[in-house]
C-alpha cells in the first residue's frame, strides 16, 4: 500500500512507535500508548507465570493421590491466584486497552497526568518484583485470599513478601483509576458529551470508581495483616481476643468490587465489538452506560455473600443475599441489550466478534451460577467447592480473558498498524472456547458433587471429571499460545492496515491515524454525531 503513496523519503508516516526506538524513549515515556504497551508486555509475562502454576495444579489433579507434596500444591494454587488476580486480571484491560484507547476515544492528546501514568507502571513492576521474590524464595500457601489467622500466625511461608507485592501493586491500580476519572471529566473533545461517550469509556469510568474507592481498603487490610504477622498482637486471632471475620469483611469489601474491576472493562470491550460487527447502534445505549455505574455502586454492598458460612449474622446475610441478586439486574440488562443489538443486524463472524459472542455466553453462565451462590441455603452446600471455582472462572476467564483477547484483536491494527491472520485467529478463538469449557464445565459438576477447592487429593470417583478438566486445560494452553505466536509475527510481518480496517465508528478509528501519532490526532477532533452511528442517522434535534 505504502509504495503507491507519494512519500519520497519515508515509507511510513511518523507515529508513536517509530518516532524513537531507543530504550530510554520507552522507559521514560509519558505517552499513554507506549505505557499501555509496557503494561501489555508485563501483564502477558505475569499471565504466563500464572498459567504455569495452573498447569502444575491440573497436572497434580490428574491423580486422586496427587503428584506433588501437599504443601507444594498449596503454593501452586496460591501463586496462581495471587498472580492472576492482582498482576493480570486487575490491570488487564484498563492498563492496556484502556490506557491506549481511553484518551483517543474521547479526543484527548493524553491522559490528564501522563507522568503519574508512567509512575503507575513502575509501581506495578515494583509490586511484581516482590511477588516474584515470594515465588523464588519458596512461595506462599495461604490462598490468594490471605485469610487470617492462618496467614498471620500459622503459615510459615513468605506471606509478607507476597503481601507487600499486592500492597504496592494496588497503588498502580489506584493511580490508573484516578487518571481515568479526571481524564473523562476534564479532557473530552468539543462535542464529546457524556451521552456520546463510547460504552468502553463508561465501563472504564465505573471501573475507576471501584479502583479508587476499593483498593485503599485492601491496602490498609494488608498493612494490618503484616503488622499482625510481625507483632502477634491478636487483632485477627480469636485466641487473643481478635476477630478473624473482621479480616474477611475488610478483604471482601475490596475483593468483591474487584471482581467488577475484572469484568466491567471487558463489558466495555464487548459493547464496542458487538456494535461494530452487527453494523448497528447499541440498543439502549443509556441503559448499558448506566448499568456500568449501577454495577460499580451496588458491587460495594454485596461483599457479605462471601461470609454466609463464616458466622456472619443471619440478618446481615439476608441483606447481602438480596443485594447480590439486585446486582445481577444491571449485568442482565447488558446481556439483553447486546442481544437486542444483534437482532436484525448485519452480523459478520470475524475474530473479535467470536470472542464477544463467547463472552456473552460464558459470562451469562458465570453470572447465573453466581446467583446459586448468592442464595444462602444453596451456598451452604456449595461454599468452598469446585462449583465456586467454576463460577468465577466462567466470569474471569470466560468473561474477562475472552474480552481481553477480543479487544486485543479488534484494536491490534490500531496499536501496531498491521493486520493479523484472520484464519489463524478464528482457529485460536475456537480452540480457546472448546478448551475453556472442557476445563471448567466439569468443575461445576465436581463442586455440586462435593469436591472441595484447594485439596491436593480427592476420592477416586472424581477422577474422570478431573481428567477431563486437565485435558481441557491442555487445549486451552494451546489456544493461548497461538495468539502469542501469530500476533508477534503479525506485528513484524503482517499486512499493513488501512486507517479503519473494520469500518468501525468512534474517534479512534475515524479521526485518529493508524497507528496514532504521539499526540493521537493530526487535526483536533470534533464530535458531531451520536455514538455507534452505524446507520448514519442524523441525531434528533441534531448538531
Amino acid at each position: 500500500m505504502s509504495t503507491t503513496l507519494p512519500l519520497p523519503e519515508t515509507t511510513e508516516r511518523p507515529n508513536y512507535l517509530n518516532v524513537d526506538y531507543s530504550w530510554k524513549s520507552w522507559l521514560f515515556t509519558t505517552d499513554h500508548k507506549r505505557i499501555a504497551l509496557l503494561y501489555l508486555f508485563s501483564i502477558t509475562a505475569f499471565f504466563l507465570v500464572g498459567a504455569v502454576f495452573a498447569g502444575l495444579m491440573r497436572l497434580n489433579l490428574l491423580f486422586p493421590d496427587g503428584l506433588f507434596e501437599h504443601d507444594t500444591y498449596n503454593k501452586f494454587f496460591t501463586m496462581h491466584g495471587v498472580i492472576m488476580v492482582f498482576f493480570f486480571l486487575v490491570p488487564s484491560i484498563p492498563a492496556t486497552l484502556g490506557n491506549f484507547l481511553l484518551p483517543i476515544m474521547i479526543g484527548a492528546r493524553d491522559l490528564a497526568f501522563p507522568r503519574i501514568n508512567l509512575l503507575s507502571w513502575y509501581i506495578y513492576i515494583a509490586g511484581g518484583v516482590f511477588a516474584v521474590l515470594a515465588i523464588v524464595k519458596g512461595g506462599v500457601d495461604t490462598g490468594w485470599t490471605f485469610y487470617a489467622p492462618f496467614s498471620t500466625t500459622y503459615s510459615n511461608t513468605h506471606v509478607i513478601l507476597a503481601a507487600i507485592g499486592v500492597f504496592i501493586s494496588g497503588f498502580s491500580s489506584i493511580l490508573t483509576g484516578l487518571n481515568f476519572i479526571v481524564t473523562v471529566h476534564k479532557m473530552r473533545a468539543p462535542g464529546m458529551t457524556w451521552s456520546r461517550l463510547p460504552l468502553f469509556v463508561w465501563a472504564h469510568y465505573a471501573t475507576s470508581l471501584i479502583q479508587v474507592l476499593g483498593t485503599p481498603v485492601v491496602a490498609i487490610t494488608i498493612v494490618l495483616l503484616m503488622l499482625e504477622r510481625i507483632l502477634h498482637a491478636g487483632i485477627f486471632d480469636p485466641n487473643l481476643g481478635g476477630d478473624p471475620v473482621l479480616f474477611q469483611h475488610l478483604f471482601w469489601f475490596y475483593s468483591h468490587p474487584a471482581v467488577y474491576i475484572m469484568i466491567l472493562p471487558g463489558m466495555g470491550v464487548v459493547s464496542e465489538i458487538i456494535a461494530c460487527y452487527s453494523r448497528k447502534g447499541i440498543f439502549g445505549y443509556g441503559f448499558v452506560a448506566f448499568s456500568s455505574v449501577a454495577i460499580a455502586v451496588l458491587g460495594f454492598m454485596v461483599w457479605g455473600h462471601h461470609l454466609f458460612v463464616a458466622g456472619q449474622s443471619m440478618y446481615a446475610s439476608m441483606v447481602f443475599s438480596f443485594i447480590s441478586f439486585l446486582v445481577a439486574v444491571p449485568s442482565a440488562i447488558k446481556v439483553f441489550n447486546w442481544t437486542a443489538t444483534m437482532y436484525k443486524g448485519s452480523i459478520t463472524f470475524d475474530t473479535p466478534m467470536l470472542y464477544a459472542l463467547g463472552f456473552i455466553g460464558l459470562f451469562t453462565i458465570g453470572g447465573l451460577t453466581g446467583l446459586f451462590l448468592a442464595t444462602m441455603a444453596i451456598d451452604v452446600h456449595l461454599t468452598d467447592t469446585y462449583f465456586v471455582i467454576a463460577h468465577f472462572h466462567y466470569v474471569m476467564v470466560g468473561g474477562m480473558v475472552l474480552a481481553f483477547l477480543g479487544g486485543i484483536h479488534f484494536w491490534f491494527p490500531k496499536m501496531t498498524g498491521r493486520l493479523y491472520p484472520e484464519m489463524w485467529a478464528r482457529l485460536a478463538a475456537a480452540i480457546i472456547f472448546v478448551g475453556f469449557n472442557l476445563t471448567f464445565f466439569p468443575q461445576f459438576i465436581l463442586g455440586y458433587l462435593g469436591m472441595p477447592r484447594r485439596y491436593a487429593t480427592y476420592a477416586q470417583e472424581f477422577q474422570v471429571l478431573h481428567v477431563l478438566s486437565t485435558a481441557g486445560a491442555s487445549i486451552l494452553g494451546v489456544g493461548y499460545l497461538l495468539p502469542l505466536i501469530y500476533l508477534t509475527w503479525a506485528w513484524r510481518k503482517g499486512e499493513r492496515s488501512p486507517q479503519n480496517p473494520w469500518q468501525a465508528k468512534g474517534l479512534e478509528w475515524e479521526q485518529s491515524p493508524t497507528p496514532p501519532p504521539t499526540f493521537n490526532f493530526d487535526v483536533p477532533p470534533v464530535v458531531t454525531e451520536r455514538p455507534y452511528n452505524y446507520s448514519e442517522e442524523v441525531e434528533v434535534g441534531g448538531y
Binding site: T29, I181, V182, K186, V212, L213, P216, A233, T518
Partner: protein
C-alpha cells in the same frame, strides 16, 4: 524525546501549559479534581482502620475505657492545637501565593513546617512513654489490669496503627512543604500559577482533619466511662 522536553519546559517556566491541555483553566481543574479524588482514596485508606476501631470498641467498651486512661491527654490536646494552628498558617500560605507575595509565602510555609515538626516531636515523646510503660503491642506487652490484657493489646495495636499512619502522612507532608519552600525560593510560583501550593495545602488540611477525628476517638471517648 519531544515529550520529555515539553515537561521540562513546563518546569522552567511554570506558567507554560503542558502539551496535552488546551488551556490553563483545564489544567488547573484537572489538578484540583485529581487531588480531590486522591483525598477520597485517603479517606477509604483510613476508613478501613476506623472500621476496625469501631468493631473493637463495640466489642470491648470496658477495656477501651481502661486504655484511654493511659493516653496522655495533655500532649494529645497540645498536638490538636498545634495542628489546627498549622492549618491556619497553611491557609495563609495559600493566600500569600494567590497574591504573589513570595516572602510571606515562604515564611508561612516555614511556620507550617515548624508546627508539623513540633507535632511529630510531641508524638515521639508520647510513643516513648508507651515504650517505657510496655504498652507496645507484641511480645513485650504488659498491662496493669490483667483481665483486659488481650483486649488492651488490640486497642493499643489500633492506636499505633492509626496514629502511626497519620504520623507517616505528616512526615510526607513535611517533605512536600520543604519542596514547596525550595520552589518558592527559586521563584517558581506567581499569582498566576501556584497549583502545587494549593494542592499540598489541601493534603495538609486533610491530614489535620484525620487527627481531629483520632484525638477524641483514641484519647477522650472512654474517659467518662468508669
Amino acid at each position: 524525546m519531544a515529550d520529555t522536553d515539553l515537561s521540562v519546559a513546563a518546569h522552567a517556566a511554570p506558567t507554560t501549559l503542558k502539551h496535552h491541555f488546551d488551556d490553563r483553566e483545564q489544567q488547573l481543574e484537572s489538578s484540583t479534581l485529581g487531588m480531590w479524588v486522591f483525598l477520597l482514596t485517603e479517606i477509604m485508606f483510613f476508613g478501613g482502620m476506623f472500621g476496625a476501631y469501631t468493631v473493637y470498641r463495640n466489642l470491648y467498651p470496658a477495656a477501651f475505657a481502661s486504655t484511654s486512661h493511659y493516653m496522655n491527654v495533655t500532649l494529645g490536646a497540645t498536638n490538636t492545637a498545634v495542628l489546627i494552628f498549622s492549618s491556619l498558617t497553611m491557609a495563609l500560605a495559600v493566600r500569600s501565593a494567590q497574591l504573589g507575595q513570595k516572602r510571606a509565602l515562604i515564611s508561612f510555609l516555614t511556620f507550617t513546617l515548624i508546627l508539623g515538626l513540633v507535632f511529630l516531636s510531641i508524638k515521639y515523646v508520647e510513643y516513648h512513654e508507651k515504650w517505657v510503660d510496655h504498652h507496645i503491642p507484641g511480645p513485650g506487652f504488659h498491662y496493669a489490669e490483667p483481665q483486659y490484657f488481650h483486649q488492651a493489646q488490640i486497642l493499643f495495636f489500633l492506636y499505633f496503627a492509626m496514629t502511626g499512619l497519620h504520623a507517616l502522612h505528616m512526615i510526607v507532608g513535611a517533605g512536600l512543604i520543604i519542596t514547596l519552600i525550595a520552589m518558592a525560593a527559586r521563584n517558581r510560583f506567581s499569582s498566576g500559577w501556584y497549583t502545587p501550593v494549593e494542592m499540598i495545602g489541601l493534603y495538609w488540611h486533610f491530614v489535620d482533619i484525620v487527627w481531629i477525628f483520632l484525638f477524641p476517638l483514641l484519647y477522650l471517648i472512654g474517659r467518662t466511662m468508669r
